[in-house]
């Protein structure tokens, strides 16, 4: 197991704070800043705990980091950030970015992101990442200096490639389908889960009304009074219990959301492959046509219709010197082209190899994480039922004493 940063360093996003400042257009804005704390893990030195380093970052800086990583390592499935805006909200949850619950969940998500990057065998070695964690000032400038924005592929180019590519690696095509399916099924699941949570909330809360009425009713009853009163209390407990239960479920939803966004990262890798493959195919095509031109020029035969050919037939052919010059140029171009093609081929093959290695790593991680998430969900449900059993057993006792 490679030595990754996560093993050498403890990383936490420990706090969140509301700040106000001026933005690019010199208007006042409110945003949240997150405190990143890092501490070197000493190998069992006596009592001495390394000092904690800390700095503040805001969400937009995390975004910048991630963009940098995606462009610089296109063959890696880069971990996603927690959502920018609250989605899949059910009625009790707030969609407000400043809502403390949302901020808290985002804090956890950001910490998770950093840990994922730090435990990735390739990403953890990146210097920009390291300085993100350790260097307070001037980090933004450093990132921009790498010029990574220039390396980014244009969206249009990528779309074009996706449609026009002829021979992409089959595995990537399958992977693309898989990520589409994953995305669609997880978003559907999250939507329905939100609705289910809403309804469940309703069922529990209406039971709270029982508490009030029972209490009022017990005032006029003699023998039934005590039983009613205590049963009412249990109904109130029941109604209140749903809040904690659903808060826990939000964490489960967040785990699923991470993989929803991971699907996008997978797609990005597939797109890169398609782009490279398309590039390759275009280069090969270009080379073939140049070779053909060469041949025509050399043998004097016109195999394919060309305007040049027509004009030269009409207006007289070129001089042999002109032909000679053209041939030379073409031959140079062909040689260049062949070298380029060779290197592009190599690039492509390397890309496929390393991408696929990371994809395998990702698959294992995904299976492991999702299985654990499902298990924890089941455990949550069990605990919810146990609580329900307790409440209703108590209520039953009270009722039987009426």
């Amino acid at each position: 197991m490679e030595d990754c940063l996560a093993k050498k360093m403890e990383i936490t996003v420990s706090e969140a704070e509301k700040r106000t400042g001026r933005n690019a257009m010199n208007m006042q804005e409110t945003y949240t800043a997150y405190l990143i704390e890092t501490r070197a893990v000493e190998s069992q030195s006596e009592g001495q705990c390394a000092p904690v380093d800390s700095l503040w970052r805001r969400y937009s800086e995390f975004e910048l980091l991630r963009n940098y990583l995606s462009v610089t390592y296109p063959h890696i499935v880069v971990p996603p950030l927690p959502e920018k805006r609250a989605d899949f909200v059910w009625h009790k949850l707030s969609a407000d970015n400043m809502d403390p619950d949302f901020v808290e969940r985002r804090r956890i998500g950001l910490e998770n992101f950093l840990l994922r990057v730090a435990s990735h065998p390739v990403l953890c070695q990146d210097k920009i990442f390291y300085s993100f964690l350790t260097q307070e000032g001037g980090w933004k400038e450093m990132v921009n200096e790498t010029g990574f924005q220039l390396k980014a592929d244009s969206r249009l180019k990528a779309l074009n490639a996706t449609f026009r590519v002829k021979n992409p690696d089959k595995r990537f095509t399958e992977l693309k389908h898989y990520s589409d399916e994953l995305q669609s099924v997880i978003s559907h699941l999250l939507r329905v889960r939100a609705r289910v949570a809403d309804r469940l909330y309703g069922v529990y809360k209406v039971h709270g009304n029982y508490g009030r009425v029972f209490s009022e009713w017990s005032a006029i009853e003699k023998e039934m009074g005590d039983g009613l009163q205590s049963a009412g209390h249990h109904m109130d407990v029941y109604a209140a219990s749903i809040d904690d239960i659903l808060e826990e479920e939000e964490h489960y939803a967040d785990q699923l959301k991470e993989y929803l966004f991971y699907a996008e990262a997978l797609r990005a890798v597939c797109r890169k492959h398609e782009l490279m493959q398309y590039d390759l195919e275009m280069a090969a095509q270009d080379l073939t046509s140049k070779k053909q031109q060469c041949e025509e020029l050399a043998t004097g035969t016109v195999r394919t219709f060309s305007l040049k050919g027509m004009t030269s037939k009409l207006f007289g052919q070129e001089t042999p010197e002109q032909r000679e010059a053209k041939l030379k140029v073409l031959e140079e171009q062909i040689q260049e082209g062949e070298e380029q093609l060779k290197s592009k081929n190599l690039e492509g093959r390397d890309f496929v190899k390393s991408a696929w290695a990371d994809i395998e790593r990702f698959k294992e991680q995904k299976n492991h994480d999702l299985k654990e998430a499902l298990i924890s969900y089941a455990v949550m449900q069990i605990s919810m039922c146990k609580k329900g059993i307790q409440v209703w057993t108590n209520a039953k006792e009270c009722f039987s004493k009426m």
């Binding site: 099924v185 889960r193 299985k371 089941a378 009722f399 009426m402």
Partner: protein, 367 residues
Amino acid sequence: DTSLSEVNSFSPSMPISPSSMINQYKFEDEPELRDLFITVDDPESHITAIETFITYRVVTKTSRGEFDSSEYEVRRRYQDFLWLKSKLEEAHPTLIIPPLPEKFIMKGMVERFSDEFIETRRKALHKFLNRIADHPTLTFNEDFKIFLTAQAWELSSHKKQGPGLLSRMGQTVRAVASSVRGGVKNRPEMFTEMNNYMETFSQKINVLDKIAHRIYKEEREYFNEMKEYGPIHTLWSASEEDIADSLKGVACCIDKCCKATEKRMAGLSENLLPILHEYVLYSEILMGVLKRRDQIQGELDSKVDALANKKTEKDLFSEEIGKLEDKVECANNALKADWDRWKQNMQCDMRSTFTNVAENNLRYYEE
């Protein structure tokens, strides 16, 4: 048995203590000593030129001597039940006659002859007759017997006898009028308490009825959403290899939860909702009974005022009224005790259902 018939007849010498009545009533309640078993089932639709209506089969099994046979099977329609109820009210104005299901439900917009409506009504009618059978006084009512045993044509001819609808309405109108007139002067403390109790109780039971319906509605919505939740996991498992089994397992569990929720809802609609509804109606009935009692007392009071000198008549009246009052007390207390026990059992059953559902959930999830 003989002691019970003494209660019915007018005996001036023996004051009947409410507590002894209760004991006898409780005794009667033991199922092993029941001698009258009634079921209401098999609704059938009848179409004539004028109207369409439903009849229900009423089967009676009994070991009582006053019944000529030990088994009877007749068909009755809702109108017949209405007739029976009004006859009972006429004969025993201060006893608590059990409620009948309403003519039709407004808010539910349930069609008159929908299966659900007919079934709910059938169950309520069944309850109605059995409550009468369990009542120490009402069970021996003559009209009740005829209702259970007479053939259709016999019943029609019997119905035509007796005071008309208008006179009965008049009685209730007079009762309401007299209570509006500013309450009764000499109402015993007990009945004022009962009145106050009933007012609050009626309020609370109505609210409970609404809450229970609301819970049912929320559970139904929850169930609808859950139905969609399970299959998504199955769909997902189709794209996966390693975690396909776990996903299918979750889908399975969710479906089981759905079934459990269905059971829970059924438990509510079979137990809690009908009982709460019955007691909503009961609270109206009880208010009516209390008003009638007040009216009778009002009559007594006015007679007492008017005939202050004729001692014997007054005594006669007093005793008669006193008997009635006692009877009302007894009926009230007996019913109250019975009702508390009923309520308690009913709620216990319902809660057991809930607990069972929760336990089922647990078992399913643990799989």
